[in-house]
């Protein structure tokens, strides 16, 4: 049972907020931030694996578009398909 704050009474209306409740909310908020941070870190850093038999996932940058183009041209003589997706 927490101790009621002075601010817990407003215009004669008792509020349910107590010091312990505020502390619980603070702990919960910190926990949410920590979990969100860990989730974000995991999303950013988790290893990515493509299915068996495929080349490893390649990351394109503005200076590596030539790699994408070269891969396209390397399959000269074959029908080619290019598909573009959002990961979520």
């Amino acid at each position: 049972m927490g101790v009621l704050d002075r601010e817990s009474f407003t215009l004669g209306q008792p509020l349910v907020t107590t010091r312990s409740t505020r502390r619980s909310i603070a702990i919960l908020a910190v926990a949410v931030v920590v979990v969100a941070g860990l989730t974000l870190a995991w999303l950013k850093l988790a290893p990515r694996h493509v299915p068996y038999g495929q080349s490893p996932l390649a990351t394109l940058r503005s200076d590596s578009l030539a790699d994408f183009r070269a891969a396209f041209n390397a399959a000269d003589g074959q029908v080619r398909v290019v598909a573009m997706f959002s990961p979520t």
Partner: protein
């Protein structure tokens, strides 16, 4: 996501076909904060596929640049808006297609991919048949 799975199923309909596929994953939605996870990459299992993570959307930008350099060549009446993002899209290219200064003109392109599977099937079959005709 459904489009990626549908594309993989479509490729499975051509198990022996001589084709190559490039899949470009790019951030478009607010939730696209990182490269696709392995579970997402696993939606496309075909071994003829190479998958790319394109955080700066350089492939889309190159397509837009190419189209805007000559809209009529790509079947457009007007240039695309500079901020246009090509995504959830599939394009099929002839076996003779070559990517020079500008991206080649696709024999077929459409999207969203999930809605374009039937037409993509026809386009792939058509191009494979044309390739066989040339080789015979």
């Amino acid at each position: 996501m459904r489009g990626a799975s549908a594309l993989d199923s479509l490729l499975a309909e051509f198990p022996e076909a001589d084709l190559r596929v490039q899949v470009d994953w790019e951030p478009v939605l607010l939730s696209d904060i990182a490269a696709p996870l392995s579970t997402v990459l696993g939606l496309i299992r075909d071994q003829r596929v190479t998958q790319y993570w394109d955080p700066d959307r350089v492939v889309s930008a190159e397509f837009v640049r190419s189209v805007n350099a000559n809209p009529a060549r790509y079947g457009f009446d007007d240039p695309l808006p500079p901020e246009y993002i090509a995504w959830d899209n599939v394009a099929v290219f002839q076996r003779s297609a070559r990517w020079g200064h500008d991206s080649p003109v696709p024999a077929f392109t459409s999207g969203p991919v999930i809605d374009a599977i039937a037409a993509t099937r026809v386009a792939i079959a058509t191009e494979l048949a044309a390739a066989r005709t040339v080789l015979e």
